[in-house]
Structures are given as C-alpha cells and as structure tokens.
C-alpha cells in the first residue's frame, strides 16, 4: 500500500501493466529527450466523483509520468497555483457534475493570469458534444467522455507534450 502512495513520482515501474505498456514506452522516449511528463490531475469544483480521476492517477503513474493529484474541492485558482508551483507540463481536469463550462475556462483564465498560459490542459467527464468546441477555444483539449480507453487519453497527452517540446526547440 505504501508503495502505491509513494510511487506517485513514477519510479515504481515494477508492476508492468500490459495494456498501457506501449504508451509508457512512448512516454519514456519523450522523457529521454528532456524529462518525464509532469501532470496535475485536478477536480476544480464541488464534485466528489473521483473514481475516474483516481484511475487516471494510477494509469499516468504506470505510464511513467510524474503525477500530482489536487485532491477534492479545490478552486480553479488553487488548481492554477498548484500547476505553476509544481511546474507541470499538463493539467488534467475532471468534472462529472455539469459545471465544466464554468470551472474549466476558469482554470484556463487563472493560469493565464498567473503566468502559466503555456501549460497544456486536457479535460474529461460528462461533456456534451456541443461544449467541446468552446472548451477547445480555451485550449482545453481531449474532453474525453465515459468509456474512453486509458490508452487514448495517455497517447493524446504524450502527443500534445511532444508537439509542445518540439515547438520550443
């Protein structure tokens, strides 16, 4: 149990998880060029539905990322502050309470205000089709619905980070 908790740094890769192995190798490749992907999994709002967020934390960890979890009931401003202080590459936002159209853009705004406008954002939860273009405008990509395979989410994140890192060089 303790290993599970402390392995958030992504060092504990002994438990090979077949289904996301490919994604992990890809992450390590990215990592070898510069560094491991650092990701903040966050629930910005009044939403206790954390099953998906917790599954993702474990999946990102097993894929070789360094994972930080915001815990529950954080405000968009708090999410932005953690993201900047922890110097993450990506903020993964999860809400299943229908408030994503308020909370997700609020995180984007807070990030811009605090000088973290270049941090990538991905979204997930119960997000209707018509909301997706509006979130994309705020630079929040993915916006994955229920039943999305972990592989899809991980490779989306890896691709986005790779694109960004390539762009920088």
């Amino acid at each position: 149990m303790l290993v599970e908790r402390s392995s958030a740094s992504g060092r504990d890769l002994g438990n090979s998880k077949v289904s996301i192995l490919a994604a992990r190798i890809s992450v390590q490749k990215t990592g070898s060029k510069s560094r491991r992907i650092r990701i903040l999994v966050a629930k910005p709002g009044l939403d206790g539905h954390d099953r998906g967020a917790l599954v993702l934390c474990r999946a990102f960890r097993d894929a070789g990322m360094e994972v930080i979890y915001s815990g529950l009931l954080v405000t968009p401003e708090q999410v932005a502050r953690i993201a900047i202080e922890e110097d993450v590459d990506v903020v993964a936002l999860s809400l299943l309470n229908g408030a994503h159209m308020t909370a997700f853009p609020a995180v984007a705004k807070a990030l811009r205000k605090m000088g973290g406008g270049d941090i990538l954002m991905v979204g997930g939860g119960i997000i209707p089709e018509q909301d997706k273009p509006l979130l994309e405008k705020e630079r929040i990509t993915g916006n994955f619905g229920p039943g999305t395979p972990l592989k899809t989410i991980i490779s989306h994140i890896v691709r986005k980070v790779e694109e960004k890192r390539r762009g920088k060089r």
Partner: protein, 577 residues
Amino acid sequence: MIQVARKNKQSFWSLKIKEIENKRRERPSTPEKKELNKLLASWRRRVSSTKQFESSSGIPIRDIYTPQDLRGLSYTSDLGLPGEYPFTRGIYHTMYRGKLWTMRMFSGFGTPEDTNRRLKHLLENGETGLSLAFDMPTLYGYDADHKRARGEVGRCGVNVSSVADMETIFEGIPLDQVSTSMTINAPAPILTCMYAATAEKAGIPLGKLRGTTQTDILKEYIAQKEWVFPPEAHLRLIRDMIAYCTQHMPHWHCISISGYHIREAGANAVQELAFTLADGFAYVELGLEAGLKVDDFADRLSFFFNCDIDFFEEIAKFRAARKIWATVMKEKYGAKKPGSMLLRFHTQSSGASLTWQQPLNNIVRTTIEALAAVLAGTQSLHTNAYDEAWALPTEETATIALRTQQIIAEETGIPKVADSLGGSYYVEWLTKEMEKRAYRYFEKIESIGGIIEAIKAGYIQREIAETAYKRQQQIEKGETVIVGVNKFMMNQKSPIKTLEINDVAQRKQIERLRILKGRRESRDLQNALLRLKKTFMDTSANSMPAILTAVKAQATLGEIMDVGREVFGEWKGPGEF
C-alpha cells in the same frame, strides 16, 4: 458470544468465519449423498475444463453446483422463512403479495419549480414514493449565491437554499400521504428540519412524516466525498438526529446506510457488502454511546445498496446482507426485537454500469439489475434512465425507467413468490461465500481499530481505488466485456437528445435569495443563529431544536452551515491516491 470470544482471545468475526468453514467440512453420511459423490466423480472425469471463471468480485466460480456445495447449510438456521430470523429469505412474511416494493425515482434538477413538476409527473404515472436529488452546492452546504456555487446551481439536482425552496418543491403534494427520501448527508439535519417545517406549516404533525434522510457521513469519507466538517462533528450531529427522530419523528428513517456510492466509487460486490455493514455497526455503536438501547433505535436504520449486472452475485449479496445484519444485531449487540434485526433496503440500479456508447442498451442493463433487486427482495427501487451516462434524465427517459419496474411488478409474475431463487445450489453457495468474505473484511477492519480509524488511515478508500483501477485494466485488456464499449462497438455521435440545464436556474435562485434576505426579521434570525452557535459548541446538547428554530427564522442553508464551519472547522480529505 462476546464472552466466548474474549476467553479464547478470538474476535467475533474469526469465530463466525471458523463456524462457516467447519460446517462446510462436514462429510456426507446418507446413502444418497454417497451416491451423488460417485455420480459427480464420474461426471468430472468426462467434463474437464481448464478455463477459470470468476464473479465480478473475483470469487472463483465452478461450472455446476450440487447439494455437495451446501454441506453444513442448515435450512432452519441459515435460511428460515420470510419475515423470520435470520431473514435471509426476506424481511416480511407476505413479501410482495402483501405490498409491492416502493417505486421511488431519484429526481431533482434546476429550480424547485422544475423539480415540483417532475415529482408530480412521476406520481401521476404510478410512482409510489418520492426521492430527491440535490445539486452540488446544496450537498456541500453552500447557498446558490455563494462564489463556490457558480456554474453548479441546479446541475446535478435541485437547489435548496432555504425553507422556501423546500415548500416550493412539495407544493400540492400532501406530505402525510407520501414517503420522501432525501439524498443528503453533510447538511442532513438542516434538510430534515426544512422538511419538518414545511410539513408543520401545512398543518401536518411531525409524527405523521414518513421517509428517509441519507445522513450516512461515513460513506462520504469513504466514497461520495461530500463532507463538510471533520468526522467527529458530523457524527455528533447524527447522534443528535437519531435521538431527536426517535422521539419526535417515529416514522422517519434518519440514516440510510449506503453501499451505493461505495460501489459507484469502484468497489466490488463483496467490498460494498462489507464496508456498508461495517458502517452500519458503527452507527449502532454511536446510538449505544448516546445512551440509547439497541432496541430503541435499531429499527430506524435502513440501508441503500447498488445493484450491478453480475446477476447472481448481486442476489447473493442482498441475501447475505440480511443474514449478517440479523446475526450480528442479535449475537453481538444483543438486540431482542425482530425489528432491530431485519435489514430493510432501497436499491438503485448501477449508474456505473451504464454506458455512454449506444445508450439505448442501458434499458436492458437496468432491467436485468432491477430484476435481480426484486428477486432479492428489495423494499424500494430506483431504476436509472438510459440517458444517465450523458445527463440527468428527461421526462421521457425517467418514465421508461419507471415503466421498467411496473412491467416487472405487473407482468412477470415474479412478485407472487418470496425469494424464488432460494434453494438454488449456486445461489445458496454464493450467499454463504459472500457472508464469509464479508466477515474477513470485518476482522481486518477491527484489526485496524474500527471503521473510523480505517477511513482515517485511508485503508477503505485505497481498497476501493485499487479495485476500480484493476477493473479498468480488465476492460482495457478485454477480459471484462462491456457491449458497445470494448466489443461490438459502433461509430455514433450524439445519438440521443438529453436534458439541458442552463444558467436560468442559477439566476432565479440568486434572485430569490436576494428577496428572502431583504424580507426576513433580522432580530429573530440573529437570535436563532446565536443560539445555534451556542448549541453547536456544547457537545452535550441536542442541536436539532436550534436548527429547526433557525430554519423557521428563514436562515439559509449556507448561513446555518457557516455557523458549523466556524465552530467545527472544515475537513480536508487526503490528497493522496
């Protein structure tokens, strides 16, 4: 039993586990049983199967079950008859011949007016009990005009910021003729007082109110995570509610001990069973600590379970739950009245089993789950609508969900016989297996120092999160099949129209609060809030009368919760995963 356990330095739970294991080892004696052994041995030689099968909880499942698997099972002491100890076969003598289960559809969205219309629609269409869903601000004790409520008002349920909202929700619904369930936990005492005040205003005495407030804060820390104060403060308020309701609202079930959310958070059936009952035992101990006798309040406790789609495992889970509760209430807590031993429960079909992909398939899933709940003898039932992986249900989809129950009740003939799967070799074996596995968890929890310690240490939460992750991996590998998700997939975009909730509810609720705050008698309000603060600070006092006075003085939900936040502080959950 307790004394014996102490003498042998063995826990109550390890004795129960040994009891089951010893009985199962009994050798067959009659000629017929010997004959069966021979028959089975020769059949086995011809049927060789190497593939392993498991239930969704990971219980190894064999290809066939026979009387051999029921070794040690005693009809009279393990099963009995419906309405008789140990209630394995159901809690009422006549079961559904006497009264069908209550069809109780979990409803609520937008403004109180929106929800009032939905409740009336469901009642007109044959619903037999009410069940309210609240929005996130209400669940966390914030008013609609609070900064944290922005974008959340009316989204996941109805918003209730003051007693006036409660009055609007129930306008035109006679509260002495319906039973109402409210899914509210951290602010449960306040919502109970708002309901009581609404009834009083309509001239209905509190003694006539029937219904349930969920109030199960332990599962909030475990699974649903809608807490406000630290555990000790919430438990003290619950203690007050148990004492108050026992005296003034004798037909009100003030706690509904809930496994539903534990399951939705990712637990398997065995974990749902064990953690829920462990929470139940903690509430019994809370009542005893408050100085009540077990038979004075145990019949006020009710349960709420999930019903997922592993059909027989779910049925076995419900039967085992009744058996364990009866056994423990009698043998461990010394209950004498049958009413204190019987486990009455509400069931909701599994939300997590519904798929976003090919949503119409969800009607089939819900039907199978509802069938399992009815075959297992549930007292009331909510059936999910097929669009609930997308949004809150529309009037049409909620009606189809209600009709699903009505078809089972009126057309299938199932309600004519109590516990019709009782006696099935498989079901009885699995019931016993679930029982044993639950006892193992109780033993483990006790070794940690009880359920509250286990929660604070994060043990229960990690068990659930690990199961959720394992299941997701099984789905990814195709070991667990979900039709339309990882097998038989189709390409569809937005195949259904869903309920849209816009910002109008938020604007209306904020405006309503502005008017309310302008109209209130401020001296009454200040006095009531001051009295409330004093009562909260005095742990020996019962806080319910002071909450009721504050509610009647038009204090808002947020104002009352803020007094609590000031006195008790707020609880921050562990940020670990």
